[in-house]
């Protein structure tokens, strides 16, 4: 019965994805859908991913699993067994959305697009694979690093004299997971209008290319790019973007010309208050500070003098920022519209008053661990139907009895037999 308490209350989702792709089902679960995480009888491989609670390597202690499976129910099932396949077909008939990243399992169960349509013509089927279903890389092996490598993004991350470097926390699977949730909602909208389900395909590589800040635009214009580390290149010049401060680093891009002028003037005013503004900075007409436009390709001296213009600004700014803390700089940025932000670590973010005041961090009780963990809270705020955390992440097979018993009518005895046969 839909009492309108949550956004996606009427819908049931079967989630057979692995790894960071679990984020797709997590988003739909946060929005109120009944998301059932279907794991092999021995538990999902995602449970082997660290970090672990108190560093105890154990399938019920994976913080990675917790992060992307909160709000879901969990059952075990081996669709490769005859009984398991029959149960899976039954579940698919009552589902609205199927999320999977296991084309081999689907094939093994004989569940191609045609047979899924016969089984449940209203089903939305979202299939996520590393490279999609066509193109020469289909079937290639991948992981987070490989995805970023082919996406173009890895190439531009890092320092000029060292190899490209990835983001230390793997995120490319989650990015594809976000796209899979969006794909499911598109197909669901069409299904609700027409009664017709369909299959949607997500390529992890395509999702990563979308995330690469539109780098192919530089390919289209044939503009070579280099890794720039703490700098940002503009034409023939490079400008410092990351600066040291008293207790860490800040990002501060000194934009040129009239775009940057109001921000840069505010920064100089603050330096003046601290007697750290140089005479050149105080006298500078910021809307005319445009070092990149000084460069003439046929005149090497023009590059030297443009670089000097950039350094004239950057050196005193760097010296000044060294005297301030991240927190002082961020507060000042807020009060005076500076384009400067602290390079925050996980602790800074977890303790940032802004997120605390917005009630972002949500406690979830884990009675089995006698612990309460703080999760990143609602990914979006809805005025009518707020996102809440209703369930901690499921333990292996936790909802077998509930789902197989109550929803599908299996008796305890029958369940025992299925368990012994390795079907669930």
């Amino acid at each position: 019965m839909d009492d309108g308490a949550s956004l996606l209350q009427p819908y049931r989702v079967l989630d057979l994805t692995e790894g960071g792709l679990n984020f797709a089902g997590k988003l739909l679960a946060d929005l109120g859908a009944d998301v059932i995480r279907v794991e092999p009888p021995s538990g999902s491989a995602t449970r082997c991913r660290g970090p672990f609670y108190h560093d105890q390597v154990h399938p019920e202690r994976s913080l990675f699993w917790f992060a992307f499976n909160v709000n879901k129910r969990g059952i075990t099932l081996d669709p490769g067994t005859a009984d398991g396949a029959a149960i899976f077909r039954g579940l698919l008939q009552s589902a609205d959305i199927l999320l999977e990243s296991c084309p081999q399992t689907m094939m093994k169960c004989g569940l191609d697009t045609q047979s899924l349509r016969e089984l449940n013509p209203c089903l939305v089927h979202v299939s996520v694979t590393p490279f999609g279903r066509n193109g020469p890389y289909e079937g290639y092996r991948s992981n987070d690093l490989i995805t970023w490598a082919l996406s173009g993004y890895l190439y531009v991350c890092g320092e000029p004299r060292r190899p490209p470097v990835r983001i230390s926390v793997p995120v490319s699977e989650q990015i594809a997971g976000g796209c899979a949730a969006a794909a499911a909602m598109h197909a669901l909208w069409y299904r609700n209008r027409t009664g017709l389900g369909q299959r949607a395909e997500v390529s992890q590589l395509s999702a990563a290319v979308w995330a690469n800040s539109m780098l192919h635009g530089y390919g289209v214009t044939n503009t070579p790019m280099q890794r720039q580390g703490a700098y940002r290149t503009q034409g023939r010049l490079k400008f410092q973007e990351l600066f040291r401060c008293r207790d860490g680093y800040v990002t501060c891009f000194l934009m040129q010309g009239h775009w940057g002028a109001p921000f840069n003037q505010q920064l100089v005013a603050w330096m003046q208050e601290n007697d750290m503004a140089t005479a050149e900075l105080i006298d500078l007409d910021w809307s005319r500070w445009l070092p990149t436009t000084m460069v003439r390709d046929d005149d090497p001296a023009s590059i030297t003098s443009a670089e000097r213009q950039a350094l004239m600004v950057e050196e005193p700014v760097a010296a000044f920022l060294l005297t301030k803390t991240k927190s002082e700089i961020f507060q000042r940025a807020l009060a005076h519209s500076l384009q400067i932000g602290p390079v925050m670590d996980v602790k800074d973010i977890s303790e940032w008053p802004h997120l605390k005041e917005r009630g972002f961090w949500q406690p979830v009780d884990h009675p089995e661990l006698s612990s309460r963990l703080l999760y990143p809270g609602p990914f979006a705020r809805f005025s009518e139907t707020p996102v809440t955390y209703r369930r901690r992440p499921p333990m292996i097979g936790e909802h077998n009895r509930e789902l197989y018993g109550e929803s599908l009518g299996y008796t305890d005895e029958h369940l025992r037999a299925l368990r012994e046969a390795g079907a669930i």
């Binding site: 991913r49 214009t221 990143p376």
Partner: protein
């Protein structure tokens, strides 16, 4: 029966720059009517941002603008003109959009009398979506930072780099790019709810909050273990070797990720040199203990080789290995050309290679049209949707209220 997902859905889109327009692009490419209100008084600065086609600037020539605004209609309206808000209100009254989207700083829509409460009085069941960096409430709500600030405060900048050095920052503004799928998921859930219950609502998406979900395990690690994740270069918990190695050519790099002993054996066989058969490298623990030596030897083996040929041969041997594509390589990559990029015709730019879809719906694929020229659909929107006469529209143009292309 129709073959476009959002046929009939009406969207009034005040989003600008990247995040917002990328969010509403999903709707436009899949058949919704999306009217982008572009304030000519304060131009979308993506229209003025490089790269431009043929490196020639122009308000219709920005590749990035054209990327995130496909299939939309453009109304050029000078929002600094005192009569602009009344034109928008009239459009809402007559056209009755289902969804209003905006990505301005907090308070901008309110200053025009177009905040949620005001719009709701005209269209009570509207879904009203706001996308900002820090959200509509909280001490930093009114701070608006650019993408580099967004990347820094989301923790991304700090965890990109080498363990022995300063952060180098992940390129560009990744959080700008990862929020649109979350935004569209939120919007579609709210629209679905509205179909069932008749109730509209307001959505507040804070980019800073959205992105933290991608890092969620790191925050649980802090909550449970007090650990603060650090820069780790290309280190991976579960794979070894795992890194980027030189290949033949300048700035030509090659990525290898060995995720099992079996995969290592396949790589060792492909290398075919004595050192690769060393028993120390046969197990994960052994490879980890000798990682430095292993990486040095691997680099020596890859450095003279053609990266593309190496990818083909190693992938054929079931080894996760790939060319590190540069931005220039991207537009020549055979897989991406076949499965992702699409060529789009544009009246000022000619044919341009653009990004395709985040995902493909097999029965109702996206039907992408080029992005609009500034003010290209003024007449259609004002006459057909808002119900103004041609005379009234001529007056609006003369008054500098509507900017004609």
């Amino acid at each position: 029966m129709t073959d476009r997902v959002f046929e009939g859905l009406k969207v009034l889109d005040f989003c600008w720059v990247i995040v917002g327009p990328m969010t509403t692009r999903f709707l436009a490419d899949h058949g919704a009517t999306v009217v982008r209100v572009e304030s000519t008084g304060k131009l979308d600065y993506l229209r003025a941002s490089a790269p431009f086609k043929d490196n020639q600037p122009g308000i219709n020539r920005s590749l990035f603008y054209n990327e995130v605004n496909t299939s939309k209609l453009s109304l050029g309206l000078n929002m600094k003109h005192p009569a602009a808000a009344s034109v928008v209100r009239r459009l809402i009254e007559r056209w009755q959009p289902d969804l209003l989207t905006e990505s301005f700083g907090v308070g901008v829509m309110e200053s025009w009398g177009l905040d949620y409460e005001s719009v709701r009085r005209i269209r009570p069941d509207i879904v009203y979506f706001s996308s900002t960096q820090f959200g509509q409430t909280g001490p930093f709500a009114r701070y608006s930072g650019f993408g580099n600030v967004g990347a820094a405060i989301s923790g991304l900048t700090n965890v990109t780099g080498w363990p022995d050095g300063a952060p180098v920052g992940a390129y560009g503004a990744l959080p700008d790019m990862t929020n649109p799928p979350l935004g569209i998921t939120a919007i579609l859930a709210a629209l679905d709810y509205r179909e069932r219950t008749g109730k509209g609502q307001r959505i507040d998406l804070a980019q800073a909050e959205g992105f933290l979900h991608y890092f969620a395990p790191a925050f649980l690690d802090y909550s449970a273990n007090g650990r603060v994740v650090r820069r780790r270069g290309n280190f991976d918990d579960a794979a070894c070797p795992h890194g980027v190695f030189p290949a033949a050519g300048t700035e030509r790099w090659f990525a290898i990720a060995i995720q099992s002993d079996e995969e290592w054996l396949a790589l060792a066989a492909a290398i075919g040199e004595e050192w690769a058969g060393d028993a120390r490298f046969a197990t994960f623990a052994g490879r980890r203990a000798n990682e430095e030596e292993l990486e040095r030897r691997l680099g020596e083996w890859t450095q003279g080789q053609d990266a593309w040929a190496l990818m083909d041969s190693l992938q054929a041997a079931r080894v996760a290995a790939a060319v590190v594509n540069s931005p220039l390589d991207l537009v020549r990559d055979p897989h991406l050309l076949e499965s992702f990029f699409v060529e789009v015709e544009h009246p000022e730019l000619g044919a341009v290679l653009q990004e395709g879809q985040h995902f493909n719906l097999c029965e109702t694929p996206a039907q992408m049209r080029r992005a609009p020229l500034l003010g290209e659909h003024n007449l259609f929107v004002l006459r057909e949707l808002a119900g103004y006469t041609e005379e009234e529209i001529a007056d609006q143009i003369a008054a500098g209220l509507v900017e004609s292309p």
